[in-house]
């Protein structure tokens, strides 16, 4: 059990990194509190696995420090850090039985056999592996093997943290859901810090209390699923989270606000002042397809748009609109009437985010 702190952490696989592009992880500061259930979410190649391997000690960071409860552990092996890790593809010890597989980490720790037996029985029960305990691990199916793999991670309850590296990739969809629930239960039961790497936003938000979104070697936002949805701090978060992702529109600074294609969006004075001073070259506004207001007839400050496409996804529909040549997506519930040809839309100020060079401009004090 430990709080994991990353200080000035960066990693490069090349020996003498020059430009930022040489870094798999750019300098970052982060704290994983003891007992939290976290997800590390990002596309392939964003550095998630690198970060995970640095935390577990399989990889030594080229810059900065990893601290467990305030103690620098950079030089410590995974054994000394007392970390459990579950990998993307199942790793089982072929020649051992399922029981011996699950008992392996405990026996290596020197636990007495009676304790081993009760711990293994407990974890086998949780993972529904009871019936296969005496089978050789090599004869299991892929998802049973992965359950054994996970079981070896979960069987030690004294660990500092358990790290999961996309553990459900090879698992059947219906089992995926069950196993995520199990993990959540185990988390609640044992109060162990868990970090779960995935590229699936649904997996991340069902498992984790807080999600760290990674992009190009950086953690661009760390927050609850709701925060990520409502206030993406980076355009990538807006684009990556949500289905479909956030509408991002290039805008120009105008007196009193910003604008695009004949649409003027007023901004608070603090933000205007910030815009005047910032060296940022690219301004974008973002709004979630869920938050765009849409009606079939003109209203207050609405803008007229053309309906280009309607996609019916069962419980909701996605409309693609063109507003003076700018494409916008709007998400409508199934009970809503679909406007034909024309629609009037407006952008509620509270859901309108402004991004300067991809980073959210905070209007707060």
């Amino acid at each position: 059990m430990a709080e994991i702190r990353l200080q000035h952490l960066a990693h490069s696989y090349t020996r003498n990194p020059g430009s930022v592009d040489d870094y798999a992880l750019r300098e970052l500061e982060h704290v994983w509190a003891q007992g939290g259930a976290y997800a590390l979410l990002g596309p392939s190649g964003c550095g998630k696995s690198t970060l995970l391997n640095i935390i577990s000690g399989l990889l030594s960071p080229s810059h900065g420090q990893v601290l467990f409860d305030g103690k620098v552990v950079n030089e410590l092996s995974p054994q000394a850090r007392n970390i459990a890790q579950v990998f993307q593809f199942p790793v089982v010890y072929d020649t051992m039985s399922v029981f011996d597989n699950l008992a392996f980490p405990l026996r290596n720790q020197g636990l007495d056999e009676a304790r081993v037996r009760s711990k293994v029985a407990e974890i086998a029960e949780v993972l529904d592996l009871g019936a296969t305990l005496n089978k050789k691990a090599r004869n299991l199916s892929a998802d049973e093997k992965q359950k054994v793999s996970m079981g070896r991670g979960l069987v030690r309850d004294d660990v500092s943290a358990i790290l999961f590296d996309e553990p459900l990739t090879v698992i059947d969809p219906h089992l995926k859901w069950k196993l995520r629930r199990k993990l959540k239960q185990i988390h609640e039961q044992f109060n162990i810090t868990m970090i779960y790497v995935t590229h699936d936003q649904l997996e991340a938000s069902t498992f984790a209390d807080k999600i760290a979104v990674m992009y190009a070697g950086q953690i661009v936002q760390f927050g609850t699923p709701r925060e990520l949805f409502e206030r993406p701090r980076h355009t990538f978060v807006g684009y990556f989270i949500g289905s479909p992702g956030m509408n991002l529109i290039d805008v120009q600074a105008q007196p009193g606000g910003v604008g695009f294609a004949g649409v003027h969006l007023p901004l608070p004075e603090v933000v205007q002042a910030y815009l005047a001073s910032t060296p940022a070259t690219r301004l974008q506004v973002g709004i979630r397809p869920e938050f765009v207001q849409l009606r079939e007839a003109p209203f207050d400050d609405a803008h007229q748009a053309r309906v280009v496409d309607v996609e019916d996804l069962g419980t909701y529909r996605i409309l693609t609109l063109a507003l003076d040549g700018v494409a916008l997506k709007v998400r409508l519930g199934e009970d809503r009437v679909i406007p034909q040809g024309q629609a009037w839309i407006s952008f509620p100020a509270q859901w309108l985010m402004l991004y300067a060079d991809d980073v959210l401009v905070e209007a707060g004090p």
Partner: protein, 287 residues
């Protein structure tokens, strides 16, 4: 679904059947032919039934060679398999050194059998050989031509020198095929180096080891050229192995009948032992 019987498909087996017939069955049948008859010339031949078989199975000279042969193959396997595994484990995984090691390891495998025999015959000579002369200089009395123990050691060392590389290269390929994640998982599970070897490396090498054991058993059990060149089967009969005894019988004494009978027995022994190895290793850890 209705299955339509179509026996014409049997014709597809014909090419394989012909190939096997010409490469194995027909040549073997000529040996079978000799093994059950006493043939003097084309016109005088007598059917003798199992007489030749009875004779060779009771021949003490063959019993001695067979025993020597088993001891020899046993020693070869006991030395070369563990040594090959050990070498494979210590070889670097990648980089320039890995390529260099692979090339150096492959060199003995490229040398023809009789050349290997000649190399060791000269290398080991007590008067002018680098190895033999050096040992004698050091005060160790060594002479493979006169001393049974020295002859055995030399024949074995020669085989180890010639063939351990094969085992090592096979094991090396098996080791390289193990994904990194297995080693990572083992580190996470706090496995000892021995446990990593016992539970990851050895099981993953099992298939290549099976090939290595079979090849080394069959080759060493049929060994002929190297001891023949090195010791000529001596001193006395100390290093006369089965194939040499067989050759003496067939070509030296021209006892074709007993030689043919013995060839078949020899073949059956190799087949049986190979089958035993195969079965033991593939069925070792079923459920």
């Amino acid at each position: 679904m209705n299955k339509v019987p179509n026996n014409k498909a049997w014709w597809l087996v014909l090419p394989v059947f012909l190939l096997v017939a010409f490469s194995a069955v027909i040549p073997m049948m000529t040996v079978v032919n000799y093994s059950v008859q006493d043939i003097f010339d084309q016109s005088s031949r007598y059917f003798v039934g199992a007489d030749w078989y009875r004779q060779v199975l009771q021949d003490p000279r063959l019993h001695d060679s067979l025993l020597r042969q088993f001891v020899y193959s046993g020693c070869v396997l006991l030395i070369e398999i563990p040594l090959g595994i050990a070498i494979a484990l210590t070889m670097p995984g990648k980089g320039r050194w890995a390529s260099l090691c692979l090339i150096v390891m492959a060199i003995p495998l490229l040398i023809p059998w009789n050349v290997v025999g000649t190399i060791w015959q000269i290398f080991g000579r007590a008067d002018i050989g680098l190895l033999g002369a050096s040992l004698n200089e050091l005060g160790i009395n060594y002479n493979y031509a006169a001393n049974t123990r020295d002859a055995w050691v030399t024949v074995l060392v020669m085989d180890v020198w010639h063939w351990t590389s094969l085992v090592a290269l096979l094991c090396y390929s098996g080791l390289r095929a193990i994904p990194d994640v297995y080693y990572q998982a083992a580190r996470i599970d706090r496995a000892s180096a021995w446990a990593v070897f016992r539970h990851i490396q050895l099981p993953k090498m099992k298939n290549v080891l099976l090939i290595a054991v079979m090849l080394r058993f069959m080759d060493s059990f049929m060994i002929y050229t190297e001891p023949f060149v090195l010791t000529g089967g001596g001193p006395g009969n100390a290093t006369t192995f089965l194939s040499q005894t067989l050759t003496q019988m067939a070509v030296g004494q021209f006892d074709l009948g007993p030689a043919a009978a013995f060839s078949l027995v020899y073949f059956l022994i190799i087949l049986l032992v190979s089958w035993l190895f195969y079965t033991a290793m593939t069925h070792a850890d079923k459920d």
